[in-house]
């Protein structure tokens, strides 16, 4: 089998997808990052290599997510792209003609606006993470609810209460208050979903025109309560694509496939990197008063990448062979 690998290393989850030559999703892995992106990614590669037939050829690899550079260095990626681009690409492939993409992940919530398949505008949460997956996770844990039942419970609400959703801290206090007032859990949970949607629309969308078709993706799209709240408040149908939780990885794989068309051979180091020992370390450089914190990534004891220095003393020492860089790809 031949195909393309997409990797999304986020703050909460690390996702891998494998597309076949016809760009159809063959395998999907969704893992918790748990603060250890390198180990999680290695584990994912191991699992994926077991799922794939022995003679699989990887024709291209794309990485995305906040750990995209780290992952890219580790596996030898052909394409390293930010989340906005990969999510937009994946959404357009899943729902041709999509004009609005709502994406809520662990730490970030994003809005992407497309016209004729082109991103024309985007927004991300600025200073506050209220209304992202982590907060929902936390509240579910506090209420002792498995997060997958959270959404179902919201659907059974009869009269959702109004929760102050401007800030995660206020939202939690208000939820506790409503609890003590005696409101039912389902009404509170449904109210929270609405609060988060309001927060998203006020802080991220900020009055941007949300035209249909609207696609909702990211881990939070699994939450039926959130889907319903969006549909009600926007008065539009909300489409959740089949691989909604790994759309970043799908987009990265699609971009890798696009890249492979140019005929450049893949830089993928092979699934064997899952067995290699990787270690990250760091130190403070005291070469000047900037005191930069330098991060080093070692593969089998060999330093393969460094970053964090302002002057380039450490990072450029490594790429002395390939000084020419490609800009705007």
């Amino acid at each position: 089998m031949k195909g393309f690998l997409g990797i999304d290393v986020g703050s909460v989850s690390t996702n891998l997808v494998f597309l076949d030559d016809d760009r159809v999703v063959q395998h999907v892995l969704y893992l918790r990052t748990q603060g250890r992106p390198l180990q999680t990614l290695q584990e994912g590669l191991k699992k994926l290599s077991r799922l794939l037939p022995p003679k699989t050829v990887v024709r291209g690899v794309g990485t995305t997510g906040s750990g995209r550079h780290l992952a890219g260095v580790m596996v030898g990626a052909d394409v390293i792209k930010n989340e906005i681009t990969t999510h937009a690409v994946a959404a357009s492939a899943a729902v041709p003609g999509v004009q609005t993409v709502l994406e809520i992940g662990g730490q970030d919530s994003k809005l992407i606006i497309l016209r004729h398949g082109l991103v024309v505008d985007f927004a991300m949460n600025t200073v506050c993470a209220a209304g992202t997956g982590s907060f929902l996770d936390q509240q579910a844990a506090r209420l002792n609810l498995p997060v997958d039942q959270f959404g179902e419970l919201a659907l059974s609400a009869t009269s959702p209460v109004r929760i102050a959703g401007r800030c995660a801290v206020f939202a939690e206090s208000d939820m506790i208050h409503k609890q003590q007032m005696g409101h039912s859990l389902s009404d509170i949970v449904a109210g929270l979903c609405r609060a988060l949607v309001r927060n998203y629309l006020n802080n991220v969308a900020k009055g941007k025109p949300l035209l249909p078709p609207i696609v909702f993706q990211g881990g939070v799209a699994a939450n039926a309560g959130m889907r319903q709240a969006f549909a009600e408040i926007l008065g539009q149908e909300i489409i959740v694509p089949p691989n909604y939780h790994v759309m970043g990885a799908v987009g990265a794989a699609l971009l890798a496939a696009e890249h492979a068309l140019s005929g450049v051979p893949s830089r993928f180091k092979g699934f064997k990197v899952a067995q290699h020992s990787f270690a990250t370390g760091g130190f403070s450089c005291h070469g000047c008063p900037n005191n930069c914190e330098i991060v080093e990534i070692r593969e089998e004891g060999q330093i393969i990448a460094r970053w964090g220095d302002r002057c380039g003393k450490w990072s450029q020492e490594l790429d002395s062979g390939c000084g020419e860089v490609e800009k705007i790809s």
Partner: protein, 364 residues
Amino acid sequence: MRVTFPHMGNLWISLKAMLTYLGVQVIVPPPCNKQALQAGAKWAPEFACLPLKLNLGNFIQAREMGADTIVMAGGCGPCRFGYYAQVEHVILHDLGYNYQLVVMEPPEKHIGELLQRIKYITGQNSWWQVMQGIRFGFRKACLVDQLEKRAFYLRPREKRSGSTDKALQEALATVDAASNWRELEQAKHQAMQRLDEVKTVQRPVLRVALIGEIYTLLEPFANLELEKRLGEMGVEVDRSIYLSEWINDHLFLGLVRGMRSSKAFSQAAAPYLAHFVGGHGQESVGSAVYYARQGYDGAIHVLPFTCMPEIVAMGILPRVSQGTGLPVMSLIVDEHSGAAGVQTRLEAFVDLLARQKRHKGAFA
């Protein structure tokens, strides 16, 4: 008397030049860094903006190097900066750092007040010498800005990544080292030459304007090295505020001819915001209009968290964006800003601009 002052980008080169020219002993704090920010954020009120926290950090570090007098700008108006000098002084005093404070601000009653404060620092120097000192500092400011602008051009086109930054650092050091007029002329030559050595290649670039609040625009540590990051992505930037222009506008009242003035920005803002809102809020709105007219591909609006004037501007910018077709992205910074998040937003913005431009077939 050992005088120190807060950092704001390369301001130190010109301030140090002016004071040393007049024989004042100067202690330049270490460049803004993590330790300074931590020290500042620890003692500052949480909702004070990033500039206050970094100033405090600078002063704490400078005190450990032996500084005993602070020279700082002040002001009056809706921006809180006007009372920062006093607040910082009190916080430092509470921490047991005994500093003399000299605030340069518009006098309350009589110009004599300001002159007296200047005299306090400059001591026995005659007014004519003081003028020469100011001229010397200003000359360096102009030179620094010229070098930075050159670097803005070179960075997206450099053949070897990082070569522009290296050249710029060396060029700035050359300018800093010049201690009299004759040396300064030589330094100018050397510095320009050093930047001309950077090898470039012809490649399409995007042009993005950086607009917004002065401190976060000028201080690379505060804005997470926006200029460098964008340059590395292949973007030629321009800043709406340069130090020399600001000095000319506010201290020389526009006496130096042939320099860009923020008045043009205020005027350009008229259709969207016709009056002063404190700080540089009005100029931020106007500069977006200005850069749209100049054919820029986009603008990034930088502001510190809790900055009132810029929040006003931020609220108006989407309308400017709609009216002029210039994509604008706002970037709020404070001590909690994460580099990964900023990088993602910048990449996404640049990606969007590049795709749009390619779509229009306008990539030159």
